[in-house]
Structures are given as structure tokens and as C-alpha cells.
Amino acid sequence: MNIPENLKYTKDHEWIKVDGNTALIGITDFAQGELGDIVFIDISPDLSELTIGESFGTIEAVKTVSDLYAPVSGKLIELNSKLTDEPQIINTDPYGDGWIIKVEMTDSSQLGELLDSAAYSNLLGQ
């Protein structure tokens, strides 16, 4: 199982990559493996603000549908437009080209609540 050390994680199997005030958010290798073939990402076109812990969209896989939860609060900067036509990138490259959204964080103290790679690895029982 791939769990990069430079990322933070949530119990909902999302990762967040912090760069100053901005953060990239995606789902973990474990999550994509559990979901299997991802068919599309459903994020409301009206989305502009994220609130920590609240759903900001859904991820539709062949087997099931799963909510995406905001790991931090923030303003939406960008959606990964590549996922519109090729959502399966999340399956093949969940930590790279498979990122889902980019946000500008409004409260960086929230990062303290997130798991580091060791803690996330523990959560998965590895």
C-alpha cells in the first residue's frame, strides 16, 4: 500500500498536500482500491467554499458511491479538469494526476487534526 510520507491524511481516506496557504486534496491509494473503477466525480458547479468535515461532492465507482469530505475549510481554487474525461486517473495515480480539488485554506490550525503517514498506516492496520 502506497502511503507517501509528505502528505496528511483523514480517517475518511483522503489525503491533503499542503503548500503554504494552498492545499491539494485527493483520495488515498487504499480508497481507490476499495472503490474499484471510478466512473466520475460529481462536484456541484456552484461549489466555492468548503467547510471542514462536510461533503463537497461524491465519487461514483462501479461498485458504490462515496461522499467526499472536506479535510479542511477553505475556498475552492481549482477542480482537476482532467477528471471530467478520465476519472480513472484516480485509480492509476491517486496521489499525483488524480488530485481532485485545490483549496485556499482559511484556518491552517485545522491541519493539526490530520493524520501523518504513520498514523494513517496504523489506521489501515499495516
Binding site: 474499484g36 473503477d37 466512473v39 460529481d42
Partner: protein, 360 residues
């Protein structure tokens, strides 16, 4: 939780395992979409050993089958298979099944794993004299080899030539193992199902022989995930989703197997009455080009109100469109009708089409 005799092999192939109908079953090995396409374009193999095999033997075997099933089993001759269903007295469906006529006095019924114990109980409750019922499900393994290249694969390893017609069967040997092979399946493709007894090692012998012969066609193991999307593209009913004890064969579009002219069978009176009074709802195929993933339980709306509910849905890997089956009030059930599917508060446009969703 039970395991099929090929369980350790699935583990070795890194299958994702789920609990299904009391069994640890592979849902996919690589990707559901990839496995689905392998069956449509070449050949794939399913371990469906969880299915139940119930044998009906004795002087009155045919009379018994005529009593408990809705189709006319008297039309069967040795070596033929029939799709049928068992109904309760109120017309609700006990199970759908395949009836194999082995001889005048011996039939094999292939039933859904999730219903097997309930079916066996129902059959015993309605048993007549001079009939013996034996559940041999635990003894049998069942492999489904499906896809346009399935014949080429099987012919390489089969003892005899494979000129069996659709819904016929014969006996043969593969890898030294005696088996019953039928031209049946749940995918809409050319395909065969192999029924055989024996231990884990025997099951692996058959599996390995099939995969060795299929190498040149890039044969793939296929899990329950693709089994579901493949059957749905054809519009085949799945018990537990599209049919159950609260639905009847007429509403489910299974009128073609419901032989109401047959002298008598369980559920006949109720089904006649349902037909006489007119159907209130009907299972219809629904398609949408919108970017949605329809699922069991989603509501169907028309004329500004809820008029039905989806029972199965997927995004067809072949059409790349949302496809679904659902029950809808009869006055909205016409082909071509515009309806909406309600998904998380949104009304998604869709329309009623006809089956199969894809044509082979």
C-alpha cells in the same frame, strides 16, 4: 461463510473478495470494466460455484416440476435446458431458475445461492409422492466460460465436438474430470457453463485447463461485479434486485416463461387474476446520456410525482451511458416515454427504451 473450491486460487490472483449469499466470492480481480470488456470482446471465466444444484428424481419428477415452476417443462427433452421461475400462491416469486432435463425421471434445478435453502424448503413443502429431492450444491463446482472466443477455448480441451445449441447440454470430460456442459450463461454472449463434482484439486484442474487453452485469447478471470454489469446490459433479471417475493413474473416482463395455459401450477390462480385485472406496474429498461450512475432504490418521477423506483443500474461499459431497470406505474411504462431519475435531490432526464440495451 462458505468458500468455493477455487477460493485459494482467487486469493492467489489477488481478487477482491466480498461476502455474497453466504459465500466468500471474488467481486473483481483487476477492474470490473476491464473484465466486462474481456467477456464482450474475447472470453472470460466466472467461478459461480455458489449457485445451487437441486436434483429431482423419481417417477413423478416431471409432474412435480410442472407443479412448482411457471414454465412448461413438458416441452423439454433429454439434454435441454429451460429458464423458469417458482412462484408462491400469491404470484410472488420464490426464485428464478434453470431446469435441466437429464432423463425422463431426473432433472437438475439450478437456483440462486441466496435462495437455495429457502427454495429447497419450499420444494419439500410441496413435494408429491414418488419424488426424491436432493440438494447437491456443496458437491458441485460451476464455471461459466463466456464470450465470443469461448467456443474456441472449450473445443481445444473438450473430449467431443461442441455442437450444442443454445440452452442444450451434453456430458464431456475436461482435464480428465467428468462434467456437464451447457450452452447457457448470464452475459448475452456465446458461452458455456461447466458443472462438475470433485475436490479442490479437481476444480483447479478444470480451471487451469480452461486458462491454458484460453491464453492465446487473453482469457480473464471475471468477478461478480462484471457479472452484474454484463447481465444488466442484456436486461436479465437479478433476484433480490429486480424480482423477489413482492413482485410477480408478469410485472417483471417474464410473461414469456409464464405458461398460464398449463393445467395447474403454484401461483397460477393469482397470476391469472393479476392478468385479468391488468398490471399496475411494470419492470422497464431505462437509459440516460447524462453523467449519472443509477442505482437500486433511486426514485423515478414523471408528471411531477414519484411513479416508480429503480431496481438495478450501472454505467454500461460498452455504451458509456447510464442504464437501469425499474418498476414504474403502468401508464408511464411505454417505450420512448420521458421520465426522470431522482439522484440526491436532482431530477435527471432519462427515457424508457427496449431490451437488450446492447445488441450482439
Amino acid at each position: 461463510m462458505k468458500k468455493t473450491k477455487l477460493y485459494s486460487l482467487h486469493e492467489k490472483l489477488n481478487a477482491k473478495i466480498v461476502d455474497f449469499a453466504g459465500f466468500k466470492m471474488p467481486i473483481h480481480y483487476s477492474s470490473i470494466i476491464k473484465e466486462h470488456k474481456a467477456v464482450r470482446t474475447s472470453v472470460g471465466v466466472f467461478d459461480v460455484s455458489h449457485m445451487g444444484e437441486i436434483f429431482v428424481r423419481g417417477k413423478n419428477a416431471l409432474d412435480f416440476i410442472q407443479l412448482i415452476t411457471v414454465n412448461d417443462a413438458s416441452l423439454l427433452t433429454d439434454g435441454r435446458v429451460q429458464y423458469s421461475a417458482m412462484c408462491y400462491d400469491d404470484g410472488g416469486i420464490v426464485d428464478d431458475l434453470l431446469v435441466y432435463r437429464l432423463s425422463e425421471n431426473e432433472f437438475m434445478l439450478v437456483v440462486n445461492a441466496s435462495n437455495k435453502d429457502k427454495d429447497f424448503e419450499w420444494m419439500n413443502k410441496n413435494k408429491i409422492d414418488d419424488v426424491e429431492l436432493i440438494d447437491e450444491s456443496d458437491e458441485y463446482s460451476l464455471l461459466a466460460v463466456q464470450g465470443p472466443k469461448s467456443k474456441s477455448v472449450i473445443e481445444k480441451i473438450c473430449d467431443n465436438s461442441l455442437d450444442i445449441e443454445y440452452y442444450h447440454f451434453t456430458s464431456t470430460k475436461i482435464a480428465g474430470i467428468e462434467l456437464l456442459i451447457s450452452r447457457t450463461g448470464y452475459t448475452g454472449e456465446l458461452g458455456y457453463e461447466l458443472y462438475f463434482k470433485g475436490n479442490e484439486s479437481d476444480a483447479r484442474k478444470v480451471w487451469n485447463a480452461v486458462f491454458e487453452a484460453g491464453k492465446e485469447f487473453e482469457i480473464q478471470p471475471v468477478g461478480l461485479g462484471a457479472r452484474d454489469s454484463l447481465r444488466l446490459e442484456m436486461g436479465f433479471c437479478l433476484y433480490g434486485n429486480d424480482i423477489d417475493q413482492t413482485t410477480n413474473t408478469l410485472e417483471a416482463g417474464l410473461g414469456w416463461i409464464t405458461k398460464l395455459k398449463k393445467p395447474s401450477f403454484l401461483g397460477k390462480e393469482a397470476l391469472l387474476k393479476i392478468k385479468e385485472n391488468g398490471l399496475r406496474k411494470k419492470l422497464v429498461p431505462i437509459i440516460s446520456s447524462e453523467k449519472i450512475f443509477p442505482r437500486n432504490g433511486y426514485e423515478i418521477a414523471a408528471d411531477g410525482k414519484i411513479v416508480g423506483r429503480l431496481t438495478s443500474g450501472t454505467v454500461s461499459p460498452i455504451l458509456d451511458k447510464a442504464i437501469a431497470l425499474g418498476y414504474i406505474e403502468i401508464k408511464f411504462a411505454n417505450e420512448g416515454n420521458q421520465i426522470s431519475i431522482l439522484i440526491r435531490g436532482k431530477e435527471i432526464p432519462a427515457f424508457i427504451t427496449k431490451l437488450p440495451f446492447i445488441k450482439n
